[in-house]
């Protein structure tokens, strides 16, 4: 339903992305994997209409599309969790949640923000993610890192109608919350949404991904279907697993630890 062909993006003299192609299909999860600075976030920002690609094509349902702002993408049902452009720190949680898609009541000049509904929805959505927020009026900037990220994810899940794009959604989350997010993604996929997921955690990527796009230094190292790759291959491609095991042994000094304070 969404496809990019040979897109590239340059920031001044910096070539962040070059000749990358991929597509997002209904009911599939596309994982974008790669080192730091590989250009994953840049690709995502192109998909979500945040950046216009400098070269290459963007096809939506087979027809060329040119989004001039994230608004256009949202209007097509594409919802995104950005890695660094999260939220407005001074605004309250519920205002942030509904920013850009405020629920309204009444009509004509009396059309107004349905505040009661907004607060209720936010509280419910967060609670179902395992985040029990004290006060939805708290300014976003005073939430903990994971709480902030949870709000962004809940928001995208709430508004994502056709495509869900998630840039390292679980990086600041606890194990429990991360699990919930993965389950959300699975649910969205099962409802027929296309999902794009960026993660550095092979334990998260493999179980849920249907298709893996590997980026390195701004270029594509290839795209693999789940059938074409085993968990071990994937993990080693991400320079993980084996190395981590080795590391574990290296670190494990087996010394008697100091006294514990229960």
């Amino acid at each position: 339903m969404l496809e990019v062909r040979a897109v590239g993006k340059t920031f001044g003299g910096v070539i962040a992305l070059r000749d990358v192609s991929t597509r997002v299909c209904r009911g599939e999860v596309t994982c974008v994997l790669g080192d730091n600075g590989a250009g994953k976030s840049t690709l995502i920002k192109i998909l979500s209409g945040m950046h216009a690609p400098d070269s290459g094509e963007y096809l939506l349902d087979g027809a060329p599309a040119a989004f001039t702002s994230p608004r256009d993408a949202m209007d097509q049902g594409i919802a995104t969790v950005y890695q660094d452009l999260a939220m407005i720190p001074l605004m309250s949680v519920w205002r942030n949640f509904f920013l850009g898609s405020e629920p309204v009541l009444g009509r004509g000049p009396f059309r107004r923000f349905d505040v009661a509904r907004a607060r209720r929805v936010v509280r419910e959505e967060l609670r179902s993610m395992g985040i029990d927020i004290r006060d939805v009026d708290q300014p976003m900037g005073t939430l903990s890192g994971g709480e902030r990220q949870s709000v962004a994810i809940a928001r995208a899940v709430h508004f994502g109608a056709r495509v869900l794009i998630l840039d390292e959604p679980t990086s600041a989350l606890g194990v429990k919350q991360a699990g919930v997010v993965l389950r959300y993604i699975a649910q969205a996929r099962d409802r027929g949404l296309g999902v794009v997921l960026i993660t550095h955690n092979p334990h998260h990527a493999y179980p849920i991904g249907d298709r893996f796009l590997l980026l390195n230094r701004g270029t594509s190292l290839g795209e693999y279907g789940k059938a074409g790759i085993t968990r071990e291959e994937l993990t080693s491609l991400m320079a993980g697993g084996a190395e981590l095991e080795r590391l574990a042994h290296e670190l494990d000094r087996g010394e008697p630890p100091g006294p514990a304070y229960p």
Binding site: S48, M50, S69, P70, R71, I88, M91, R112, F113, D135
Partner: protein, 342 residues
Amino acid sequence: MTVADERLARTGAARRLLVRPELGAMVGAVAVFAFFASQSATFRSIEGVANWLDPASTLGIMAVAIALLMIGGEFDLSAGVLTGTTGLITVILATRYGLSVWTAMLVSLAAALLVGFLNGLIVVRTGLPSFIVTLGTFLMLQGVNLGVTKALTGTVQVGGLRGAEGYEGARAVLAGTFPAGGTDFRVAVLWWLGVTALATWVLMRTRAGNRIFAVGGDARAARAAGVPAERTKIALFMTTAVAAWLVGSILALRFTSVQANSGIGQEFVYIIAAVIGGCLLTGGYGSAIGAAIGAVIFGMADKGIVFAGWDADWFTFFLGAMLLLATLANRLVRRYAEEVRR
């Protein structure tokens, strides 16, 4: 669970009220009022109140509009001189070109909207800071006001609106008085209350309000969330221009003549009132009621010094001290409120 979350200290309902950003400004206002009321009996009399509410009301209309703009992360230095421009257009058209006052006001409204639109357009298109762009329009309008007035009339002021068609009606609506409590108040006070209420409603209870906070808080993040940031900002500049037109018309109808340099220097008073009322200069935070109260604080301090009969040479000294103290009181209350909740 949230109702009785063990991680929340108890907060009484009365104390919860304290957290409204306006309350800090309110306390500042009460302090200034109490101070001058103790200094001068006339100040606290109903005539005195009507007197200092009069300039506070026109200032307040502008301060509220500027507050919206500042919450949206932008400045408008051309707003003060635009009140002069609109007044000049109205008076010149009504007296030299025989238009009725109402038609002349419509034309000046269109001109104001155009200026606001251009301000906004240049800001969003070029990405220059609005401080510089509106400084440019400020200077240019100032030149236009003087140059055109001189060219058309040979003097630096135009007058004679009293004789124009429709003057009485327009004056009654915009520049008349209404009796209350045994004295006459200016209708501008009602306009000011209306504008404040409308702006508060927009800010707190509409989509537009949410978007204004967002573009001021972080324009990039707001855009990423799907807020049409450019449109929002242009609309804010146009709103400010409409407020300038309203105030310009009120003053023109009231004095029936306009000077070419009128409004110059007021742009900073508007910003000051908004900041006293709790708006952040960096955007994303503030309230319309706060700005309205900021205008009252400024108006009271400004007039109170005169009522108290202090030495005119030291006028600005007292004014500065008053403003500093009022803002400090505001800040202290806000801090206390934050202790109480959040």
